[in-house]
């Protein structure tokens, strides 16, 4: 796992090496084991290395034998051994044992179609000297990041936006339309980022830059059209899923350094540890605990540790610690967030790094592909009720939603019905499953400044989302629609980035995700929805597949989503100085994005200890993280770079 950056100029000059060094130095946390820069002709490539495979070889940027191809690569091609053999059989020779060289030779053999053969997580750029073009690609699920911008006469890219901003000619401005997306969906919609003119390469896409022209092509998309295939028996589905996960884990244990695992005490991480045990991997696990019992899962973690016999380390997260580290977390996330949940994961990756581990396996992706989230359950109940709105019995199922939210559980049945009320037209809305979440989140927009309101001019973010929907989406089963929205939206936009790559790589830790092996993803797309969520039993088939292989109490417990203390992290006995400073009316007015008086009222509510609602907690985190983003990336970028990652 590494950091990459580069420049392609069509102004006749060769990119400046000092500039490339500066760009890669800003993301040195992604690869502290060495840096390399290559500049020749119109292209400059830079690389910061975290050595995991072929520790002595594998330096980058790497060239092929005749130096007609150069690559800078962040990620892993887990099936590189099989691909290497395939290439050897076709007459290719290798001078290292790295997956980087396999990637390069696969490009030599297959051209841009090479990515279709890769099983892995990647963001890379290949300079194809003979064809005078730059080829860039990002993995199917969007595990590894890749950002870019275009200047007059140049294309600039990097693993993180800060490496692009290290190019002195790139402008740094907030994109208010992107902000509006985050204040609805919790994330930007690709290719937008929080910054104007800086884009991300969408997951499952490649791009070609040649003759001053940038072309993006999708090579893979989540597809549920295989649902019509002849169904297998429940046992067959469970067996295939199990076997695929065994192999997905096996190839993700390929490394020349030890591989650990996150262990949350939930179903997915327990499944991963059981698979590691089956592969005879060493079992070192890591977890985070909370003082507040509403968030803490230490009890279940202990059960899993005892059951699997892992060597375990944990870090204890206190509310004020979240407030203290939040500016550093934001520096790495590079976008506003509505939740603090990335902060404890930032602490967890520090723990992993302190234990001298560079790689962890985690359970990300399972909820999206196998039907684990409560939003699927909520949509199922609302849909069931919406078909017969006069029913008195159906809305009683609402009581079974969100058992871990005490304020919701205190509500009367009539209020629950009112909260989850299904309007007659809702069931036909393509976003039926996600409208309650998005509408709740969008209420934060009351804090926008008048200038932002007028700039946005009432434009609809839903229209942009609609344009991204795949062909045939409207005809899909409602459960599949909900799954698609999670898989293509929040998973790459928040879970794998703000909660994933960015906070892990902040401490040079690589996450690997067996559930996001493309074979598992594509198989999961074929599983009938009734086996994903049987009535209201989430991830039913996964539970069946791992019966007797994980602790029974964990297999049978209902889903407890990972959450962390929210707004109160910033308003304890000793609030961090930056909080009151950045939320002060003067600074809010100076930023121009939010309404100073309204924000002040919100702050006062928090200071009185009266802000306990979801909407208010999301709002304060969203406003504070936006203010931090402006402060660090717009106003004090040079100082922040000088200060370093932490």
């Amino acid at each position: 796992m590494c950091g990459i950056a580069g420049i392609y100029q069509w102004d006749g000059k060769t990119p400046d090496q000092d500039r490339l060094h500066r760009m890669i130095q800003t993301i040195r946390h992604r690869g502290p084991d060495g840096t390399g820069v290559f500049a020749e002709g119109p292209v400059g490539l830079a690389h910061a290395r975290l050595s995991i495979i072929d520790l002595s070889g594998g330096h980058q940027p790497m060239a092929n034998d005749d130096q007609s191809l150069w690559v800078t690569f962040n990620g892993e091609i887990f099936n590189y051994l099989e691909l290497r053999q395939y290439l050897v059989d076709r007459g290719y020779r290798f001078s290292t044992t790295s997956d980087t060289e396999v990637l390069l030779q696969m490009y030599a053999d297959k051209g841009e179609d090479c990515v279709k053969y890769f099983n892995g997580q990647w963001a890379f750029a290949i300079w194809d000297k003979k064809r005078n073009r730059l080829f860039l690609s990002r993995d199917r699920a969007g595990i590894r990041p890749l950002f870019y911008t275009t200047l007059r006469g140049a294309f600039v890219f990097g693993s993180e936006i800060k490496s692009i901003f290290a190019h002195s000619e790139v402008k740094r401005e907030i994109d208010v339309e992107a902000l509006d997306q985050i204040f609805t969906f919790w994330c930007t919609l690709p290719p937008k980022t929080a910054f104007q003119g800086v884009y991300e390469l969408p997951p499952g896409s490649s791009m070609i830059v040649e003759a001053g022209k940038v072309t993006v092509r999708s090579y893979w998309k989540m597809d549920y059209t295989f649902q019509d295939e002849a169904e297998k028996s429940e046992e067959e589905y469970a067996g295939i899923l199990h076997d695929l996960l065994v192999d997905a884990t096996r190839i993700r244990l390929r490394a020349d350094v030890p591989v650990g695992a996150y262990l949350s005490g939930g179903l997915d991480s327990s499944v991963i540890v059981s698979l590691m045990k089956k592969a005879n991997a060493s079992l070192e696990t890591f977890s985070v605990g909370f003082a507040d019992s509403e968030f803490d899962e230490s009890g279940f973690q202990k059960q899993a540790i005892d059951y699997f016999g892992t060597k375990h380390r944990d870090v204890f997260c206190k509310e004020d610690e979240i407030g203290r580290i939040f500016p550093d977390v934001l520096w790495h996330m590079e976008k506003p967030v509505v939740r603090t949940a990335p902060a404890p994961l930032f602490m967890l990756s520090q723990l992993v790094r302190d234990a001298r581990y560079k790689v962890v396996l985690t359970g990300e992706g399972s909820d999206e592909i196998l039907g684990g989230y409560d939003i699927f359950k909520e949509a199922k109940v609302r849909h069931f009720w919406g078909r017969h709105p006069e029913s008195q019995m159906r809305p009683r199922l609402l009581k079974r939603l969100y058992p871990y939210l005490p304020n919701l559980q205190k509500q009367s049945e009539s209020y629950l019905k009112a909260f989850f009320y299904v309007r007659p037209d809702d069931v036909n809305n393509p976003f039926f499953s996600h409208l309650p979440r998005w509408e709740l989140t969008a209420r934060m927009k009351m804090f926008y400044s008048d200038e932002v309101q007028s700039k946005l001019g009432g434009g609809s973010v839903y229209k942009t989302m609609e344009e991204l929907l795949p062909k045939g989406f409207l005809a899909w089963d409602p459960f599949l629609k909900a799954q698609y929205l999670e898989f293509s939206g929040l998973l790459p936009g928040y879970i794998l980035s703000s909660q994933g790559d960015r906070v892990a790589m902040a401490h040079s830790v690589e996450g690997r995700f067996p559930f996001l092996d493309y074979r598992v993803i594509e198989f999961a797309a074929k599983i009938p929805t009734r086996l994903k969520m049987k009535v209201l039993n989430e991830k039913y088939l996964l539970k069946k597949s791992f019966q007797n292989l994980i602790p029974e109490t964990i297999r049978k417990r209902s889903k407890q989503p990972y959450r962390a203390p929210e707004g109160k992290s910033f308003f304890g006995t000793h609030p961090p100085d930056y909080v009151m400073e950045l939320l002060s009316p003067d600074r809010i007015a100076q930023g121009g994005l939010f309404h100073p008086e309204r924000v002040q009222k919100l702050v006062e509510k928090f200071r009185r200890g009266q802000a306990i609602g979801l909407k208010e907690n999301m709002a304060i985190i969203a406003i504070l993280s936006t203010q931090l983003l402006v402060d660090q990336f717009i106003h004090h970028f040079e100082e922040r770079i000088a200060y370093g990652g932490h």
Binding site: L405, N407, L408, K410, Q411, S412, S414, Y415, A418, F419, Y421, E439, L440, R443, M446, F447, H595, E597, R598, V599, K601, L602, K605, Q610, I612, G613, L614, K615
Partner: protein
């Protein structure tokens, strides 16, 4: 009734809307449909009514018919005060 409405409206605008959009909120508007109140907001509203108007809101009284618009709240508060 007018004094109750003034007090309730002021609380809702300051507490849930943070000073925004109060002028557009009609007495008959549904607080849920307008996105003014969420599940926690209902509990906050009940706590405000109990503290300000000195009566207890029983569990069975926490229903949208009583609390989902400023108009409904005013009628509910007035009735509770009279029966106290």
């Amino acid at each position: 009734m007018e004094a109750i409405e003034k007090e309730v409206r002021c609380f809702i605008i300051e507490h849930f809307l943070f000073g925004s959009g109060g002028n557009g909120l009609k007495s008959a508007d549904s607080l849920l449909e307008k996105g003014v109140i969420d599940s926690t907001g209902v509990l906050e509203l009940v706590s405000f009514l109990e503290t300000t108007f000195h009566f207890k809101v029983e569990d069975h009284e926490i229903i949208p018919d009583h609390l989902d618009s400023i108009g409904n709240i005013v009628v509910f508060v007035d009735r509770k005060k009279k029966s106290a």
